[in-house]
Protein backbone atom coordinates (compact mmCIF):
# COMPACT_ATOMS: atom_id res chain seq x y z
CA UNK A 1 0.00 0.00 0.00
CA UNK A 2 2.73 2.45 0.92
CA UNK A 3 5.19 3.31 -1.82
CA UNK A 4 8.76 2.42 -1.06
CA UNK A 5 10.74 5.36 0.18
CA UNK A 6 7.67 7.18 1.44
CA UNK A 7 8.71 6.81 5.04
CA UNK A 8 5.71 8.37 6.80
CA UNK A 9 3.32 5.98 5.10
CA UNK A 10 5.44 2.86 5.29
CA UNK A 11 6.09 3.28 9.02
CA UNK A 12 2.61 2.53 10.41
CA UNK A 13 2.38 -0.60 8.27
CA UNK A 14 5.82 -1.68 9.40
CA UNK A 15 4.51 -1.42 12.98
CA UNK A 16 1.28 -3.37 12.59
CA UNK A 17 2.30 -5.91 9.93
CA UNK A 18 4.30 -8.28 12.18
CA UNK A 19 1.34 -8.80 14.54
CA UNK A 20 -1.10 -9.14 11.64
CA UNK A 21 1.19 -11.56 9.82
CA UNK A 22 1.56 -13.67 12.96
CA UNK A 23 -2.20 -13.81 13.44
CA UNK A 24 -2.77 -14.73 9.80
CA UNK A 25 -0.03 -17.36 9.68
CA UNK A 26 -0.72 -19.07 13.01
CA UNK A 27 -4.39 -18.41 13.64
CA UNK A 28 -6.27 -17.77 10.38
CA UNK A 29 -4.27 -20.20 8.24
CA UNK A 30 -4.54 -23.09 10.76
CA UNK A 31 -8.24 -22.46 10.88
CA UNK A 32 -8.48 -22.72 7.08
CA UNK A 33 -6.33 -25.87 7.21
CA UNK A 34 -8.70 -27.31 9.80
CA UNK A 35 -11.65 -26.44 7.58
CA UNK A 36 -10.11 -28.29 4.64
CA UNK A 37 -9.07 -31.18 6.82
CA UNK A 38 -12.62 -31.54 8.17
CA UNK A 39 -13.82 -32.11 4.59
CA UNK A 40 -11.42 -34.94 3.82
CA UNK A 41 -11.70 -38.64 4.57
CA UNK A 42 -9.45 -40.10 7.24
CA UNK A 43 -8.36 -42.97 5.00
CA UNK A 44 -7.25 -42.14 1.48
CA UNK A 45 -8.14 -38.45 1.37
CA UNK A 46 -10.67 -37.07 -1.09
CA UNK A 47 -13.45 -34.60 -0.30
CA UNK A 48 -16.38 -35.79 1.75
CA UNK A 49 -18.99 -34.52 4.20
CA UNK A 50 -18.80 -37.81 6.11
CA UNK A 51 -17.15 -36.25 9.18
CA UNK A 52 -20.04 -33.85 9.66
CA UNK A 53 -22.74 -36.36 8.87
CA UNK A 54 -21.14 -38.73 11.37
CA UNK A 55 -21.65 -36.14 14.09
CA UNK A 56 -25.27 -35.59 13.19
CA UNK A 57 -26.18 -39.27 12.77
CA UNK A 58 -24.12 -41.03 15.45
CA UNK A 59 -26.01 -40.75 18.75
CA UNK A 60 -22.84 -41.13 20.86
CA UNK A 61 -21.42 -37.98 19.24
CA UNK A 62 -24.65 -36.11 19.77
CA UNK A 63 -24.57 -37.28 23.35
CA UNK A 64 -21.19 -35.58 23.89
CA UNK A 65 -22.58 -32.27 22.64
CA UNK A 66 -25.70 -32.60 24.80
CA UNK A 67 -23.52 -33.47 27.83
CA UNK A 68 -21.31 -30.46 27.13
CA UNK A 69 -24.26 -28.10 26.85
CA UNK A 70 -25.88 -29.51 30.01
CA UNK A 71 -22.71 -29.31 32.09
CA UNK A 72 -21.97 -25.80 30.80
CA UNK A 73 -25.49 -24.59 31.56
CA UNK A 74 -25.45 -26.10 35.07
CA UNK A 75 -22.00 -24.64 35.79
CA UNK A 76 -22.97 -21.18 34.51
CA UNK A 77 -26.17 -20.99 36.56
CA UNK A 78 -24.64 -22.32 39.81
CA UNK A 79 -21.58 -20.10 39.44
CA UNK A 80 -23.68 -16.95 38.99
CA UNK A 81 -25.96 -17.86 41.90
CA UNK A 82 -22.97 -18.45 44.18
CA UNK A 83 -20.83 -15.53 42.97
CA UNK A 84 -23.43 -12.75 42.94
CA UNK A 85 -24.17 -12.66 46.70
CA UNK A 86 -20.48 -13.15 47.42
CA UNK A 87 -19.46 -10.24 45.18
CA UNK A 88 -22.24 -8.17 46.76
CA UNK A 89 -20.98 -8.89 50.28
CA UNK A 90 -17.43 -7.97 49.23
CA UNK A 91 -18.60 -4.74 47.60
CA UNK A 92 -21.13 -3.64 50.22
CA UNK A 93 -20.25 -5.08 53.61
CA UNK A 94 -16.46 -5.28 53.60
CA UNK A 95 -14.89 -1.94 54.63
CA UNK A 96 -13.40 -0.07 51.68
CA UNK A 97 -9.77 -0.43 52.78
CA UNK A 98 -10.05 -4.22 53.07
CA UNK A 99 -11.85 -4.75 49.75
CA UNK A 100 -8.77 -5.08 47.61
CA UNK A 101 -7.29 -7.66 49.95
CA UNK A 102 -10.59 -9.53 50.25
CA UNK A 103 -10.91 -9.70 46.47
CA UNK A 104 -7.29 -10.78 46.02
CA UNK A 105 -7.83 -13.58 48.52
CA UNK A 106 -10.99 -14.64 46.72
CA UNK A 107 -9.15 -15.08 43.42
CA UNK A 108 -5.84 -16.34 44.81
CA UNK A 109 -6.42 -20.04 43.96
CA UNK A 110 -7.10 -18.83 40.42
CA UNK A 111 -3.35 -18.83 40.02
CA UNK A 112 -2.73 -22.47 40.78
CA UNK A 113 -1.85 -24.35 37.65
CA UNK A 114 -5.08 -25.37 36.04
CA UNK A 115 -4.07 -28.99 35.68
CA UNK A 116 -3.15 -29.00 39.37
CA UNK A 117 -6.39 -27.29 40.36
CA UNK A 118 -8.47 -30.12 38.95
CA UNK A 119 -6.16 -32.68 40.51
CA UNK A 120 -6.56 -31.02 43.93
CA UNK A 121 -10.30 -31.58 43.72
CA UNK A 122 -9.52 -35.24 43.16
CA UNK A 123 -7.76 -35.24 46.54
CA UNK A 124 -10.91 -33.83 48.09
CA UNK A 125 -13.43 -36.03 46.27
CA UNK A 126 -11.62 -39.39 45.92
CA UNK A 127 -12.84 -42.61 47.55
CA UNK A 128 -10.29 -42.15 50.35
CA UNK A 129 -10.20 -38.36 49.97
CA UNK A 130 -10.90 -35.63 52.48
CA UNK A 131 -14.68 -35.53 52.19
CA UNK A 132 -15.23 -39.27 52.33
CA UNK A 133 -12.80 -39.65 55.26
CA UNK A 134 -14.53 -36.83 57.11
CA UNK A 135 -18.02 -38.22 56.51
CA UNK A 136 -17.14 -41.80 57.46
CA UNK A 137 -15.08 -40.47 60.37
CA UNK A 138 -18.04 -38.77 62.00
CA UNK A 139 -20.18 -41.79 61.15
CA UNK A 140 -22.53 -40.01 58.76
CA UNK A 141 -22.03 -42.63 56.05
CA UNK A 142 -20.82 -46.22 56.24
CA UNK A 143 -19.42 -46.63 52.74
CA UNK A 144 -17.46 -43.93 50.93
CA UNK A 145 -19.49 -42.09 48.30
CA UNK A 146 -18.60 -42.23 44.62
CA UNK A 147 -17.79 -38.55 44.12
CA UNK A 148 -14.84 -38.58 41.73
CA UNK A 149 -15.33 -39.66 38.11
CA UNK A 150 -18.86 -38.30 38.06
CA UNK A 151 -20.60 -35.33 36.53
CA UNK A 152 -20.82 -33.93 40.07
CA UNK A 153 -17.01 -33.82 40.23
CA UNK A 154 -16.72 -32.11 36.83
CA UNK A 155 -19.31 -29.50 37.81
CA UNK A 156 -17.61 -28.90 41.19
CA UNK A 157 -14.23 -28.36 39.55
CA UNK A 158 -15.70 -25.95 37.00
CA UNK A 159 -17.82 -24.04 39.53
CA UNK A 160 -14.75 -23.60 41.73
CA UNK A 161 -12.98 -21.89 38.85
CA UNK A 162 -15.88 -19.78 37.58
CA UNK A 163 -17.03 -18.56 41.01
CA UNK A 164 -13.68 -16.76 41.19
CA UNK A 165 -14.01 -15.38 37.67
CA UNK A 166 -17.60 -14.21 38.11
CA UNK A 167 -16.85 -12.71 41.52
CA UNK A 168 -14.28 -10.53 39.79
CA UNK A 169 -16.57 -9.37 36.97
CA UNK A 170 -19.66 -8.88 39.15
CA UNK A 171 -17.66 -7.09 41.85
CA UNK A 172 -16.27 -4.68 39.24
CA UNK A 173 -19.80 -4.11 37.97
CA UNK A 174 -21.23 -3.40 41.44
CA UNK A 175 -18.43 -0.94 42.21
CA UNK A 176 -19.07 0.96 38.99
CA UNK A 177 -22.69 1.43 39.94
CA UNK A 178 -23.18 4.98 41.17
CA UNK A 179 -24.61 5.04 44.73
CA UNK A 180 -26.96 7.82 43.71
CA UNK A 181 -29.23 5.30 41.96
CA UNK A 182 -29.81 3.51 45.23
CA UNK A 183 -30.19 6.76 47.14
CA UNK A 184 -32.79 7.91 44.64
CA UNK A 185 -34.70 4.66 44.95
CA UNK A 186 -34.56 4.90 48.75
CA UNK A 187 -35.70 8.54 48.68
CA UNK A 188 -38.65 7.49 46.57
CA UNK A 189 -39.57 5.02 49.28
CA UNK A 190 -38.30 1.71 47.92
CA UNK A 191 -37.25 -0.87 50.49
CA UNK A 192 -33.80 -2.48 50.08
CA UNK A 193 -35.16 -5.67 48.51
CA UNK A 194 -37.19 -3.72 45.99
CA UNK A 195 -34.26 -1.43 45.23
CA UNK A 196 -32.13 -4.47 44.59
CA UNK A 197 -34.63 -6.21 42.33
CA UNK A 198 -35.66 -3.17 40.32
CA UNK A 199 -32.54 -1.03 40.28
CA UNK A 200 -29.31 -2.85 41.14
CA UNK A 201 -30.00 -6.17 39.44
CA UNK A 202 -31.07 -4.77 36.05
CA UNK A 203 -28.13 -2.37 36.04
CA UNK A 204 -25.65 -5.18 36.71
CA UNK A 205 -27.24 -7.51 34.17
CA UNK A 206 -24.78 -6.61 31.39
CA UNK A 207 -21.89 -7.58 33.67
CA UNK A 208 -23.59 -10.85 34.54
CA UNK A 209 -24.13 -11.59 30.85
CA UNK A 210 -20.49 -10.92 30.02
CA UNK A 211 -19.45 -13.21 32.88
CA UNK A 212 -21.94 -15.85 31.76
CA UNK A 213 -20.62 -15.68 28.20
CA UNK A 214 -17.02 -16.05 29.40
CA UNK A 215 -18.07 -19.00 31.55
CA UNK A 216 -19.82 -20.58 28.59
CA UNK A 217 -16.86 -20.21 26.23
CA UNK A 218 -14.20 -21.35 28.68
CA UNK A 219 -16.28 -24.17 30.11
CA UNK A 220 -17.51 -25.76 26.89
CA UNK A 221 -14.01 -25.70 25.37
CA UNK A 222 -12.11 -27.13 28.33
CA UNK A 223 -10.58 -30.58 28.21
CA UNK A 224 -8.63 -30.77 31.47
CA UNK A 225 -11.31 -30.56 34.14
CA UNK A 226 -13.75 -33.11 32.66
CA UNK A 227 -10.91 -35.49 31.82
CA UNK A 228 -9.38 -35.43 35.32
CA UNK A 229 -12.54 -35.17 37.40
CA UNK A 230 -15.23 -36.70 35.22
CA UNK A 231 -13.12 -39.55 33.90
CA UNK A 232 -14.46 -41.35 30.89
CA UNK A 233 -17.92 -42.14 32.25
CA UNK A 234 -19.56 -39.46 30.16
CA UNK A 235 -17.67 -37.71 27.39
CA UNK A 236 -17.80 -33.99 26.74
CA UNK A 237 -16.99 -32.46 23.35
CA UNK A 238 -13.34 -31.55 24.03
CA UNK A 239 -12.71 -35.08 25.30
CA UNK A 240 -14.24 -36.44 22.12
CA UNK A 241 -12.01 -34.20 20.01
CA UNK A 242 -8.89 -35.27 21.89
CA UNK A 243 -9.89 -38.93 21.60
CA UNK A 244 -9.93 -38.69 17.80
CA UNK A 245 -6.36 -37.42 17.85
CA UNK A 246 -4.93 -39.47 20.69
CA UNK A 247 -6.35 -42.90 19.99
CA UNK A 248 -7.02 -42.90 16.29
CA UNK A 249 -5.00 -40.08 14.76
CA UNK A 250 -8.17 -39.04 12.96
CA UNK A 251 -7.40 -35.36 12.28
CA UNK A 252 -10.28 -34.81 9.82
CA UNK A 253 -12.93 -35.92 12.32
CA UNK A 254 -11.25 -33.98 15.14
CA UNK A 255 -11.24 -30.89 12.88
CA UNK A 256 -14.91 -31.28 12.05
CA UNK A 257 -15.82 -31.65 15.75
CA UNK A 258 -13.70 -28.57 16.62
CA UNK A 259 -15.49 -26.53 13.97
CA UNK A 260 -18.89 -27.65 15.26
CA UNK A 261 -17.80 -26.69 18.79
CA UNK A 262 -16.72 -23.28 17.51
CA UNK A 263 -20.01 -22.81 15.70
CA UNK A 264 -21.86 -23.39 18.99
CA UNK A 265 -19.73 -20.74 20.72
CA UNK A 266 -20.40 -18.31 17.85
CA UNK A 267 -24.14 -18.87 18.21
CA UNK A 268 -23.84 -18.17 21.95
CA UNK A 269 -21.92 -14.99 21.15
CA UNK A 270 -24.63 -13.80 18.75
CA UNK A 271 -27.25 -14.56 21.39
CA UNK A 272 -25.43 -12.39 23.96
CA UNK A 273 -24.17 -9.80 21.48
CA UNK A 274 -26.53 -7.10 22.75
CA UNK A 275 -25.11 -7.20 26.27
CA UNK A 276 -21.56 -7.79 25.18
CA UNK A 277 -21.65 -4.66 23.04
CA UNK A 278 -23.00 -2.49 25.82
CA UNK A 279 -20.09 -3.54 27.97
CA UNK A 280 -17.55 -2.63 25.32
CA UNK A 281 -18.94 0.82 24.63
Amino acid sequence: MASAGNNSRALPWALVTPALAWTCAFFVLPFIAMGFSSLTAHEGGGFTLANYSQFFTDPSYWRAMVNSLEVTAIVTVISILLAYPFAWILAEMVPERWQRLALMLAVLPFWTSYVVRSYSWLLVLAQNGVINRALTGIGLIGEPLQLANTRFATVTGFVHFFVMLLTLTIFANLKQLSPSYRKAAADLGARPVRTFLHVVLPLTLPGIMVGAFLTFVLCIGDYVTPQILGGNNELLMPQLVMMQIGRRGDFPLASALSIILMAVVTIAYLACARWLKIERA
Binding site: L11, P12, W13, A14, L15, V16, P18, A19, L20, W22, T23, F26, F27, V28, P30, A33, M34, S37, L82, P85, F86, I89, L90, M93, L105, A106, L108, P109, W111, T112, S113, Y114, V115, V116, R117, Y119, S120, W121, L122, L123, V124, A126, V130, R133, H160, V217, I220, G221, D222, Y223, V224, I228, V241, F251, A254, S255, S258, M262, V265, Y269
Partner: protein, 260 residues
Protein backbone atom coordinates in the same frame (compact mmCIF):
# COMPACT_ATOMS: atom_id res chain seq x y z
CA UNK B 1 -33.62 -8.95 61.85
CA UNK B 2 -30.88 -6.68 60.47
CA UNK B 3 -28.29 -8.44 62.64
CA UNK B 4 -29.50 -11.84 61.45
CA UNK B 5 -29.07 -10.82 57.80
CA UNK B 6 -25.57 -9.54 58.51
CA UNK B 7 -24.65 -12.73 60.31
CA UNK B 8 -26.00 -14.85 57.43
CA UNK B 9 -23.98 -12.76 54.97
CA UNK B 10 -20.74 -13.30 56.89
CA UNK B 11 -21.39 -17.03 57.26
CA UNK B 12 -22.04 -17.19 53.52
CA UNK B 13 -18.86 -15.29 52.66
CA UNK B 14 -16.79 -17.55 54.91
CA UNK B 15 -18.38 -20.64 53.33
CA UNK B 16 -17.49 -19.40 49.83
CA UNK B 17 -13.92 -18.65 50.94
CA UNK B 18 -13.83 -22.17 52.38
CA UNK B 19 -14.99 -23.64 49.08
CA UNK B 20 -12.44 -21.60 47.13
CA UNK B 21 -9.54 -22.50 49.39
CA UNK B 22 -10.38 -26.13 50.16
CA UNK B 23 -8.54 -27.80 47.25
CA UNK B 24 -5.50 -25.51 47.52
CA UNK B 25 -5.12 -26.06 51.25
CA UNK B 26 -5.49 -29.82 50.78
CA UNK B 27 -2.90 -29.73 47.99
CA UNK B 28 -0.28 -27.87 50.00
CA UNK B 29 -1.01 -29.71 53.26
CA UNK B 30 -0.61 -33.18 51.79
CA UNK B 31 2.48 -32.16 49.83
CA UNK B 32 4.08 -31.93 53.28
CA UNK B 33 3.03 -35.44 54.26
CA UNK B 34 5.72 -38.09 54.60
CA UNK B 35 3.60 -41.13 53.68
CA UNK B 36 3.26 -42.43 50.12
CA UNK B 37 -0.39 -41.44 49.71
CA UNK B 38 -1.70 -37.89 49.90
CA UNK B 39 -4.74 -38.90 51.93
CA UNK B 40 -5.98 -38.21 55.43
CA UNK B 41 -5.15 -38.45 58.24
CA UNK B 42 -2.32 -35.95 58.08
CA UNK B 43 0.75 -37.51 59.67
CA UNK B 44 3.11 -34.64 60.21
CA UNK B 45 5.35 -32.51 58.05
CA UNK B 46 8.19 -33.60 55.82
CA UNK B 47 9.93 -32.06 52.83
CA UNK B 48 10.58 -35.49 51.36
CA UNK B 49 8.38 -35.02 48.29
CA UNK B 50 9.85 -31.65 47.45
CA UNK B 51 13.24 -33.33 47.50
CA UNK B 52 11.88 -36.03 45.21
CA UNK B 53 10.59 -33.41 42.76
CA UNK B 54 13.81 -31.43 42.70
CA UNK B 55 15.89 -34.55 42.10
CA UNK B 56 13.60 -35.76 39.30
CA UNK B 57 15.43 -34.87 36.08
CA UNK B 58 12.27 -35.09 33.97
CA UNK B 59 10.43 -32.59 36.14
CA UNK B 60 13.30 -30.16 36.52
CA UNK B 61 13.99 -30.11 32.79
CA UNK B 62 10.26 -29.61 32.13
CA UNK B 63 10.33 -26.74 34.61
CA UNK B 64 13.26 -25.21 32.74
CA UNK B 65 11.43 -25.71 29.41
CA UNK B 66 8.33 -24.03 30.81
CA UNK B 67 10.28 -21.01 31.97
CA UNK B 68 12.12 -20.78 28.65
CA UNK B 69 8.92 -20.98 26.59
CA UNK B 70 7.13 -18.56 28.92
CA UNK B 71 9.87 -15.92 28.80
CA UNK B 72 10.52 -16.12 25.05
CA UNK B 73 6.89 -16.34 23.96
CA UNK B 74 5.95 -13.48 26.30
CA UNK B 75 8.76 -11.33 24.92
CA UNK B 76 7.55 -12.02 21.39
CA UNK B 77 3.90 -11.37 22.35
CA UNK B 78 4.63 -8.11 24.12
CA UNK B 79 6.91 -6.87 21.30
CA UNK B 80 4.40 -7.62 18.54
CA UNK B 81 1.56 -6.35 20.74
CA UNK B 82 3.32 -3.09 21.59
CA UNK B 83 4.39 -2.28 18.03
CA UNK B 84 0.92 -2.90 16.63
CA UNK B 85 -0.81 -1.04 19.50
CA UNK B 86 1.42 1.98 18.93
CA UNK B 87 0.85 1.79 15.19
CA UNK B 88 -2.92 1.67 15.56
CA UNK B 89 -3.05 4.36 18.26
CA UNK B 90 -0.77 6.88 16.56
CA UNK B 91 -1.50 6.53 12.85
CA UNK B 92 -4.60 6.46 10.73
CA UNK B 93 -4.77 3.20 8.81
CA UNK B 94 -7.45 2.11 6.35
CA UNK B 95 -9.68 -0.61 7.81
CA UNK B 96 -8.00 -0.26 11.18
CA UNK B 97 -11.09 -1.36 13.18
CA UNK B 98 -11.25 -4.64 11.24
CA UNK B 99 -7.51 -5.21 11.54
CA UNK B 100 -7.64 -4.56 15.30
CA UNK B 101 -10.51 -7.02 15.49
CA UNK B 102 -8.43 -9.59 13.64
CA UNK B 103 -5.60 -9.28 16.16
CA UNK B 104 -7.94 -9.74 19.15
CA UNK B 105 -9.97 -12.53 17.52
CA UNK B 106 -7.99 -15.46 19.06
CA UNK B 107 -9.24 -14.34 22.50
CA UNK B 108 -12.67 -15.74 21.66
CA UNK B 109 -11.51 -19.18 20.56
CA UNK B 110 -10.77 -21.99 23.00
CA UNK B 111 -7.15 -23.06 23.42
CA UNK B 112 -8.07 -26.57 22.35
CA UNK B 113 -9.22 -25.35 18.94
CA UNK B 114 -6.19 -23.08 18.48
CA UNK B 115 -3.93 -26.02 19.32
CA UNK B 116 -5.87 -28.32 16.99
CA UNK B 117 -5.57 -25.87 14.09
CA UNK B 118 -1.81 -25.52 14.57
CA UNK B 119 -1.45 -29.28 14.84
CA UNK B 120 -3.25 -29.80 11.52
CA UNK B 121 -1.26 -27.02 9.83
CA UNK B 122 2.13 -28.16 11.16
CA UNK B 123 1.27 -31.72 10.27
CA UNK B 124 0.63 -30.71 6.67
CA UNK B 125 3.68 -28.47 6.48
CA UNK B 126 5.86 -31.21 7.93
CA UNK B 127 6.85 -29.14 10.98
CA UNK B 128 7.76 -31.54 13.79
CA UNK B 129 6.29 -31.29 17.28
CA UNK B 130 8.60 -29.26 19.49
CA UNK B 131 8.88 -26.60 22.16
CA UNK B 132 9.15 -24.06 19.35
CA UNK B 133 5.79 -25.19 17.93
CA UNK B 134 4.20 -24.86 21.39
CA UNK B 135 5.85 -21.46 21.85
CA UNK B 136 4.33 -20.26 18.56
CA UNK B 137 0.93 -21.30 19.93
CA UNK B 138 1.58 -19.40 23.16
CA UNK B 139 2.26 -16.23 21.18
CA UNK B 140 -1.04 -16.75 19.32
CA UNK B 141 -2.97 -16.74 22.61
CA UNK B 142 -0.96 -14.02 24.37
CA UNK B 143 -0.45 -11.51 21.55
CA UNK B 144 -4.14 -10.40 21.59
CA UNK B 145 -3.94 -9.98 25.35
CA UNK B 146 -0.79 -7.85 25.22
CA UNK B 147 -2.23 -5.83 22.36
CA UNK B 148 -5.51 -5.19 24.20
CA UNK B 149 -3.80 -4.18 27.46
CA UNK B 150 -1.28 -1.84 25.81
CA UNK B 151 -3.74 -0.38 23.30
CA UNK B 152 -6.22 0.46 26.08
CA UNK B 153 -3.50 2.35 27.96
CA UNK B 154 -2.44 4.55 25.02
CA UNK B 155 -3.67 7.94 26.19
CA UNK B 156 -3.64 11.33 24.53
CA UNK B 157 -1.24 12.93 26.97
CA UNK B 158 1.47 10.61 25.64
CA UNK B 159 0.94 11.92 22.10
CA UNK B 160 2.14 15.36 23.15
CA UNK B 161 5.38 14.02 24.58
CA UNK B 162 6.02 12.15 21.36
CA UNK B 163 5.20 15.23 19.28
CA UNK B 164 7.58 17.30 21.35
CA UNK B 165 10.33 14.76 20.71
CA UNK B 166 9.65 14.89 16.97
CA UNK B 167 9.65 18.70 16.99
CA UNK B 168 13.03 18.58 18.66
CA UNK B 169 14.26 16.49 15.73
CA UNK B 170 14.06 12.91 16.99
CA UNK B 171 13.80 10.22 14.34
CA UNK B 172 10.82 7.86 14.49
CA UNK B 173 12.82 4.97 15.89
CA UNK B 174 14.13 7.28 18.62
CA UNK B 175 10.61 8.42 19.49
CA UNK B 176 9.59 4.78 19.69
CA UNK B 177 12.50 3.52 21.79
CA UNK B 178 13.23 6.55 23.97
CA UNK B 179 9.76 8.01 24.48
CA UNK B 180 6.96 5.54 23.74
CA UNK B 181 8.53 2.48 25.38
CA UNK B 182 9.48 4.17 28.69
CA UNK B 183 6.15 6.03 28.90
CA UNK B 184 4.20 2.81 28.28
CA UNK B 185 6.45 0.71 30.51
CA UNK B 186 3.77 -0.14 33.13
CA UNK B 187 1.37 -1.48 30.48
CA UNK B 188 4.22 -3.33 28.77
CA UNK B 189 5.22 -4.99 32.05
CA UNK B 190 1.61 -5.83 32.83
CA UNK B 191 1.24 -7.48 29.43
CA UNK B 192 4.51 -9.33 29.86
CA UNK B 193 3.75 -10.75 33.31
CA UNK B 194 0.21 -11.70 32.41
CA UNK B 195 1.55 -13.52 29.33
CA UNK B 196 4.10 -15.24 31.53
CA UNK B 197 1.43 -16.57 33.90
CA UNK B 198 -0.73 -17.80 31.02
CA UNK B 199 2.14 -19.43 29.15
CA UNK B 200 3.56 -20.95 32.35
CA UNK B 201 0.17 -22.50 33.06
CA UNK B 202 -0.90 -23.46 29.54
CA UNK B 203 -1.54 -27.16 28.98
CA UNK B 204 -3.58 -28.13 25.94
CA UNK B 205 -1.48 -26.42 23.25
CA UNK B 206 1.77 -27.75 24.73
CA UNK B 207 0.21 -31.20 25.08
CA UNK B 208 -0.75 -31.24 21.40
CA UNK B 209 2.38 -29.64 19.98
CA UNK B 210 5.30 -31.10 21.95
CA UNK B 211 6.61 -34.64 21.99
CA UNK B 212 9.99 -35.37 23.62
CA UNK B 213 10.71 -32.09 25.36
CA UNK B 214 7.61 -30.86 27.14
CA UNK B 215 6.52 -28.18 29.55
CA UNK B 216 5.75 -28.64 33.23
CA UNK B 217 1.94 -28.81 32.97
CA UNK B 218 2.33 -31.68 30.46
CA UNK B 219 4.76 -33.49 32.77
CA UNK B 220 2.32 -33.03 35.66
CA UNK B 221 -0.39 -34.49 33.44
CA UNK B 222 1.83 -37.52 32.85
CA UNK B 223 2.37 -37.85 36.62
CA UNK B 224 -1.41 -37.93 37.11
CA UNK B 225 -1.59 -41.25 35.30
CA UNK B 226 -0.08 -42.88 38.38
CA UNK B 227 -3.09 -41.75 40.44
CA UNK B 228 -2.93 -39.75 43.66
CA UNK B 229 0.72 -39.12 44.33
CA UNK B 230 2.40 -36.83 46.89
CA UNK B 231 4.99 -35.86 44.30
CA UNK B 232 2.22 -34.28 42.25
CA UNK B 233 1.19 -32.33 45.35
CA UNK B 234 4.72 -31.05 45.83
CA UNK B 235 5.21 -30.02 42.20
CA UNK B 236 1.72 -28.47 42.17
CA UNK B 237 2.54 -26.41 45.25
CA UNK B 238 5.78 -25.23 43.62
CA UNK B 239 3.91 -24.19 40.46
CA UNK B 240 1.43 -22.30 42.65
CA UNK B 241 4.31 -20.49 44.38
CA UNK B 242 5.82 -19.38 41.05
CA UNK B 243 2.44 -18.18 39.78
CA UNK B 244 1.91 -16.15 42.94
CA UNK B 245 5.29 -14.46 42.46
CA UNK B 246 4.34 -13.58 38.86
CA UNK B 247 0.94 -12.29 39.96
CA UNK B 248 2.53 -10.09 42.63
CA UNK B 249 4.77 -8.58 39.93
CA UNK B 250 1.70 -8.08 37.77
CA UNK B 251 -0.18 -6.39 40.63
CA UNK B 252 2.75 -4.09 41.31
CA UNK B 253 3.02 -3.03 37.67
CA UNK B 254 -0.73 -2.45 37.48
CA UNK B 255 -0.73 -0.48 40.73
CA UNK B 256 2.14 1.64 39.53
CA UNK B 257 0.02 2.60 36.54
CA UNK B 258 -2.67 4.17 38.70
CA UNK B 259 -1.19 7.59 39.54
CA UNK B 260 -0.70 8.33 35.82
Amino acid sequence: MRAAVRLAAWVYAIAVYGFIFLPVVVLVLFSLQATSFPIPPFTGPSLRWYQAVLSDAKLTSALFNSLLVAVLSSLASVTLGFLSAWGFARFVLPGSAILRGLITLPLTVSYLIIGMGLLVLFNWAGVPKSLLAAGIGHVVINLPLCFAIIYSQMGDHQINIERAARDLGAAEWKVLLMIAVPVMAPAIFAGFFLSMTFSWDEFVISFLLTRFETTLPVEIWNLLRSGLNPKTNAVGSLVFAVSIVLVVFFELTLLRRKPA
